[in-house]
C-alpha cells in the first residue's frame, strides 16, 4: 500500500525532533509560526515608534553624539504647534490633499464609468490610462519639470497654443500662484488611474439584475445613477479617498523632484519640512515630536474615516 506524504514526512523526522515536538498544543504551534512575524513587527515598527516618542521629549541631535541629552518635556510639541511656518506647511498640505482628492475622485470615477461601458478597444484604453501610476514618482517628477519648462516644455506650449499666451511668459513651478497647482496636476495625472481602478471594481460588483429591476420600474438613467450606482460604489470611492488621503498626506518624492518645496516655501508640504528638520538641520528630538504629531493626526483622521466607511458599508 502506498504511504501518504504525511506519513513519509513523519517517518523521516528524526526521533530527537519528534520527541521535542510531541505535546505541543495547536495554540503553541500557532504562536511558533507567527512569532517571527511578530518579532519583526516589534523590531521594525513598534520599537522605532516607541523610541521616536521617547526622543520627542528630548533635545537629542543625532549629529552631536557627544552632547548631553536633556529631557525637555513638552517644549518640542509647544514649539511646533506655535510655529507659524509649520502651520503654513500644514495649509499647503491641506490645499494639496483636498484638491488632489477632489480631482482624482471626479476624474477617476468618470473614467471608470466610461470604461465600464462595453466598447471597442476597452482593454487597450484601460491599459493606457493606468500607465502613469506604474511609473516611479521620481521619474514622473523629473519628466514633468521638463514639460513645465517655459521655453521648451510641452505643457507651456499646449497652454500657449490653446490660449494664445506666450509659453515663456509663465512658469508653472516658478510662480507662487501656479506652483501649488503644478504639483496638483502632476499628482492627479499620476494617481487618477488608481482611483479609476477602484471605482471600476465597484461598478463591476453591482449585479446587472438591480438595473434590470429599475428599468422594469421605469426608473430614468439619472435616477438609476443616483439611487443605485452611487450608493453601491460609495464604499469603494471612500476606500480610494482613504488610500489617496494617507498617501498624499505623506507626499514627498514627487514634490521634491518638481519644486523642491519652492518657490519660497509655497509647496513645502509637511513631509518635506519634517525631512529638513530631521536630516538637514539634524534636530532629532524636535523632528521626532513633529513626526508624532503627524502620526497622531493621520491615525486619528483615518480612524474616524474608517468608522464612517464601515457605517456606509452596513447600510
Amino acid at each position: 500500500m502506498l504511504k501518504s506524504s504525511v506519513d513519509r514526512v513523519a517517518e523521516a523526522t528524526p526521533h530527537a525532533i519528534a520527541r521535542r515536538m510531541h505535546g505541543l498544543s495547536d495554540r503553541a504551534l500557532a504562536w511558533l509560526f507567527v512569532a517571527p512575524s511578530i518579532v519583526l513587527l516589534l523590531a521594525v515598527n513598534i520599537f522605532p515608534l516607541i523610541w521616536t516618542i521617547r526622543l520627542s521629549f528630548t533635545n537629542f541631535r543625532v549629529n552631536r553624539p557627544n552632547a548631553e541629552v536633556e529631557f525637555v518635556g513638552l517644549k518640542n510639541y509647544l514649539k511646533i504647534l506655535s510655529d507659524r511656518d509649520i502651520w503654513l506647511t500644514m495649509q499647503a498640505t491641506a490645499h494639496f490633499l483636498i484638491w488632489t482628492i477632489v480631482l482624482q475622485v471626479l476624474i477617476g470615477f468618470t473614467l471608470a464609468y466610461l470604461i465600464n461601458k462595453k466598447f471597442r478597444g476597452n482593454d487597450v484604453w484601460t491599459t493606457i490610462i493606468v500607465l502613469p501610476m506604474m511609473l516611479s514618482p521620481a521619474v514622473v517628477g523629473n519628466f514633468w519639470t521638463f514639460l513645465y519648462q517655459p521655453q521648451i516644455g510641452l505643457f507651456n506650449y499646449a497652454v500657449g497654443f490653446l490660449t494664445g499666451a506666450d509659453p515663456s511668459s509663465f512658469s508653472m513651478i516658478g510662480d507662487v500662484s501656479l506652483a501649488p497647482w503644478a504639483i496638483i496636476i502632476v499628482d492627479t495625472w499620476m494617481w487618477t488611474p488608481f482611483v479609476m481602478l477602484i471605482c471600476l471594481a465597484g461598478l463591476r460588483s453591482i449585479p446587472p439584475s438591480i438595473y434590470e429591476a429599475a428599468e422594469c420600474d421605469r426608473a430614468s438613467n439619472w435616477r438609476q445613477f443616483w439611487t443605485i450606482t452611487i450608493p453601491l460604489v460609495l464604499p469603494f470611492l471612500m476606500l480610494a479617498v482613504l488610500f489617496r488621503g494617507i498617501e498624499n498626506f505623506k507626499m514627498f518624492d514627487l514634490v521634491v523632484q518638481l519644486t523642491g518645496g519652492g518657490p519660497g516655501s509655497i509647496t513645502e508640504l509637511t513631509s518635506i519640512n519634517l525631512k529638513r528638520e530631521a536630516f538637514e538641520k539634524w534636530r532629532t528630538g524636535y523632528a521626532s515630536a513633529y513626526a508624532v504629531i503627524l502620526f497622531v493626526t493621520v491615525f486619528g483622521l483615518a480612524s474616524i474615516y474608517v468608522k464612517a466607511l464601515n457605517k456606509v458599508k452596513q447600510r
Partner: protein, 444 residues
C-alpha cells in the same frame, strides 16, 4: 540529523565562511574616497592612478551629486558609517566634523611628514582645514580651491553693432563690469535680445531652494554690499550686521537681477542648471564656481575665445568679495584604514602631484603651484581664479551650519523668487532665526 548531513552542513558552512572572508581579505588594501559627483572628481580618479601604482592600494570612489551630497555624506558621518576612509567634505562641515569627532585631527601627521599649512593659499587653510577658525588646529588638507566668479560671452561683447548700441545707451563701452551696477546694466542689455536668430537672456544666477544654491548666490553679492555675519568685536551678535542697511540693498539688488535678467523658469537653478543655460547659448553672463571654467573653456559651443572670465565686481562702496567654494580632504575617524588614508594625503600634498592636479582640471590650493610665474597664463581663467581667491569670504562653518543654511535658504527664496515681503523683512527674519540657532547652541 544524520552524521552525513551534519558533515555536509559543516562543509557548506566552511565554504560560506570562506566566501564571506575572501572579499574582506581582498579589501584590506583598498581605500574609499567620498566626494561630490562632478568634473573634478573624474580628474581625481585619473590622478589617483599614480597613488595606486606607488602604494599598491586600490582606490575606490563614492561620488554623490551635489544636491544630495550633504544629505548622503552627513548621514554617513553621523551614523559612524565605514563607507568612507577619506572625505572631501564641504568647507562648512568642518566645525561639526571636528567637534563631533568625525574627522581625524591632522596636526601630528602634518608635523611628522613636514606638511606645512603655510604652503597653501591662506584662505583655503582657514576655509577648509581649520577649526576653530584662525587657530592652528587642522582637520583637513586643502584639496580643491574654488570660488564663485563669472564667465561671459566674449564673442557677443566684441560685436561692433552691440558695442555701439550699448555705448549709446549707457555711455560706456560694453566690457567686463567693474561694479554690480554695471553688471546689471549688461544683463538688462542682453535680456530678450535676438542674437543669431535666437532669443537670449541676461544672466544665469543661483536660485536653487533645496540645498544651498540661493544662499551661495545671494551671499556672493551681499559681501560686496557690506554684509557682515556678526559684530567683529562681539561674536554672535547679529542684529544690525546681518540686517544692516547695506545688506538690505544687496538683497534688493539680487532680487532685481533675478526679476529683470534671468531666463524664463530660472527659479530653481544651481550649478548644473546655470552651466546648461550658459553652454546652450542662452545667457550672456554666468555666475558659477570656478570648477565650471575648464569645462566651459573646452566646450565646442561656447569654449575657447568665445568666453571670458571675471571675478566678482565691486559693490556700491567699491568693496569686492566673493563666496568661497572648495573643499579639504580629511580622514574619517570611523575608518579602519587610517594609516593608508594618511598615506594618500601625504602623496596628494606633494608639489608635483599638486601641479599635475591643476593640469588635469583640479584647482590646487598649493602656493607653489598658483604662485608659479607661468600659472596666471596657463589657462584663460587662471588669473581670474587667483583674483577671486584673493577676495573670498565664507558662510558659517559652525557645527550648527545646517540649521543656519536652511534658514537662509528659506528667507532668501521667499523674498527673491517667491516675492514675499521685503528685503528688510527677509534679513530681519534671518537675523532672528540665526540668533535662535545660536541661542539653542548656548552661545549667549
Amino acid at each position: 540529523m544524520t552524521f552525513r548531513n551534519t558533515r555536509s552542513l559543516a562543509a557548506f558552512g566552511t565554504l560560506l565562511a570562506a566566501g564571506v572572508a575572501y572579499p574582506g581579505q581582498a579589501s584590506a588594501k583598498d581605500l574609499t574616497l567620498c566626494w561630490a559627483a562632478w568634473d573634478p572628481a573624474n580628474a581625481l580618479i585619473e590622478l589617483s592612478k599614480d597613488f595606486e601604482a606607488q602604494s599598491g592600494i586600490k582606490m575606490k570612489f563614492e561620488f554623490v551629486p551635489w544636491p544630495n551630497f550633504a544629505d548622503r555624506m552627513l548621514n554617513e558621518l553621523n551614523s559612524g558609517g565605514k563607507l568612507c576612509d577619506l572625505m572631501i567634505g564641504d568647507s562648512q562641515w568642518i566645525g561639526g566634523a571636528a567637534e563631533n569627532g568625525q574627522y581625524v585631527k591632522l596636526n601630528d601627521f602634518f608635523d611628522k611628514e613636514g606638511i606645512k599649512m603655510s604652503d597653501f593659499i591662506p584662505a583655503t587653510v582657514v576655509g577648509y582645514a581649520e577649526w576653530p577658525k584662525n587657530s592652528p588646529n587642522y582637520w583637513a588638507l586643502p584639496a580643491f580651491g574654488d570660488v564663485v566668479g563669472w564667465s561671459y560671452r566674449k564673442d557677443w561683447f566684441a560685436r561692433p553693432e552691440l558695442q555701439a548700441e550699448f555705448k549709446e545707451k549707457y555711455g560706456r563701452d560694453l566690457a567686463v563690469p567693474k561694479t554690480f551696477g554695471e553688471l546689471k546694466d549688461i544683463a538688462q542689455f542682453f535680456q530678450k535680445r535676438e542674437i543669431d536668430g535666437k532669443t537670449v537672456y541676461g544672466a544665469a544666477i543661483y536660485t536653487e531652494r533645496g540645498s544651498e544654491g540661493i544662499t551661495m548666490g545671494v551671499m556672493d553679492v551681499l559681501y560686496s554690499f557690506g554684509f557682515k555675519y556678526e559684530n567683529p568685536d562681539k561674536p554672535y551678535e547679529l542684529e544690525g550686521y546681518v540686517n544692516s542697511a547695506e545688506a538690505v540693498k544687496g538683497l534688493e539688488f539680487y532680487k532685481e537681477l533675478y526679476d529683470c535678467c534671468t531666463p524664463p523658469g530660472h527659479s530653481d537653478a544651481y550649478m548644473s542648471e546655470d552651466i546648461d543655460a550658459y553652454k546652450s547659448g542662452q545667457v550672456a553672463l554666468h555666475m558659477n564656481f570656478a570648477f565650471t571654467w575648464p569645462g566651459i573653456n573646452a566646450d565646442a559651443n561656447v569654449g575657447g575665445e568665445k568666453s571670458g572670465y571675471f571675478p566678482n565686481p565691486a559693490g556700491p562702496d567699491g568693496a569686492a568679495y566673493a563666496q568661497l567654494g572648495g573643499q579639504g580632504i580629511s580622514v574619517v575617524s570611523s575608518s579602519q584604514k587610517q594609516e593608508d588614508a594618511l598615506a594618500y594625503i601625504k602623496w596628494f600634498a606633494q608639489p608635483e602631484i599638486q601641479q599635475k592636479w591643476w593640469q588635469m582640471g583640479g584647482y590646487s590650493a598649493l602656493r607653489k603651484v598658483v604662485e608659479d610665474p607661468g600659472f596666471a597664463t596657463s589657462q584663460p581663467y587662471a588669473q581670474t581664479f587667483l583674483d577671486s581667491m584673493a577676495i573670498v569670504q565664507d558662510f558659517w562653518a559652525e557645527p550648527s551650519y545646517a540649521s543656519l543654511l536652511q534658514a537662509a535658504q528659506k528667507r532668501f527664496h521667499d523674498y527673491v523668487v517667491a516675492g514675499q515681503g521685503s528685503a528688510q523683512d527677509a534679513l530681519d527674519g534671518l537675523a532672528k532665526d540665526w540668533t535662535q540657532v545660536f541661542d539653542d547652541e548656548g552661545k549667549y
